[in-house]
Amino acid sequence: MPYQIVVLIKQMPDLELIKPDPSTGEPNVKSVPLRFETLSKHATEAAVRLKEKYGGKVTGICLGTETAGQVMKEAFAMGVDEGIVITGYQGSNPRYTARILAEKIKSIPHDVVVLGNQSADSYTGMIPGMISSMLGVPLLGNALSIELSDGSAQVLRVMEDRNEKIQSKLPAVISVTQEINEPRLPPVMQILAAGRKPIKTEKAEPGKSYTAIRSNKAPKSERKKQIFEDPVKGIPEVVKALKEAIR
């Protein structure tokens, strides 16, 4: 049975390039390029594998910025069929993000909505539950594997102290863990072809914020940073410090 699969794709600043200002501790977020958010990439891989296994179509939706087309093209190269970019992302305001995404999902056919369990930058983990209740469909959270059959989905759900095999009717929202797969590196031909694919772009109405940021700073690192390249010199120093510390 062919499935209508929706995958939610987020952009995030390249965390490797973020450096706190040494004097203020404030990060240089604005000057860092945006890329494919880590968990969204695993979600995209999972969505494309579902299509490859069961047949159907994958639609990517991103609430992002003007540069989100770039990320969507990468998603096309991985096997996503259609892309919708909505501009107007408002930082980490999860309920706003979820509302805009849920409204969009409602307007298109969907059997399965796949997304990350917790995004690698803002890390709220709120979008899966919010989308599930806004759509009024079950949430199969934290999936390590997904199987679809005849109107239902089965997921191996990873939890702190146990795993669970859980099941629900379709349509369903499925959030994935980082361990569910290794995202593919698409071949050059696919990347080139992806560049020519059209992307639907829309603009979201801004929402209200419920927080006021007082500060956003890297915690001060007050480590001694005594690094020894010669273990003969280093080991006695380290052992002395260790003995003192555990005394």
Partner: protein, 297 residues
Amino acid sequence: MKTLVYSDSQDIAAQLVAKFSQFGEVTLLVSSGNVDKLKKYGPTSIISFEGPENPDALANIARTAAEKGQHEMIAIGSTTVGRDMAGILAGMIGADVMAEIVDIRNDGGKIVTRRFFLGGKTVLEEETTSKIFTVSPGIAEPAEKAGSPPIEHLGLAASSVSVIEVIPKMASSEDIEKASVIVSVGRGIGSKEGIEKIRPLAEALNGVIAGSRPVCLDYQWLSEEKQVGLSGKKVRPKVYLALGISGQIQHIAGMRGSKMVVAVNKDKSAPIFEEADYGLVGDLYQIVPKLLEALKA
């Protein structure tokens, strides 16, 4: 301010009661089987339920409880169940969520929270009017309090998700959050057997062994509750010894509170050295035996 608190983890539930009591009355929502274990932490009142702790059913019961009790805040422990429950509840009642907070306080009538941001690179301090909070483990020390809180029972609604099978995981009794010395291993350990080779060092230091996410989750060389980091445990031992850990920000977020950090890594430009008091550049398999020898001398 009145708070409704819930966590499927008893440890976190006890911490939530302790933390949110500073704002006023606390109602603990808890599965009936855990009432006896948790009532000694002194919630103002208890609402108990019976049945499987599925996120959508929990969101429903929390909504009912919070409407009845007119709670101004709802605090939920950040576990896989808790996060899904909080998201569903927020969508259901149209309330905002402050996610993954590591601290909350009342600052002259304003609620101010702290949480990690940018994958753990920064700490975000915010004033918020949100109603729902998901709370990282370790927000407070649970404290026992005398008293016998009134207990009310509520029915749990059916879930739209059915549990077909529960697959237990190997668990261990060692709690890395309480250890005063942690020897933590990363992918640089290379194999599960490698862990046995560093065990004597951990024993000599009276410490426990923990690990980075790949070691605990991807390779399962250690069990999952030994994972340190943003998505694992936040630890603050006296000594944190990092062996073959590169020091990605998501790992640092879990060990930043350590008193003294010692890192061993063969790559002298590994970021862990930026977060270390002492660093030894070299192969951990050569350095660990020498450390052990010198410690015993």
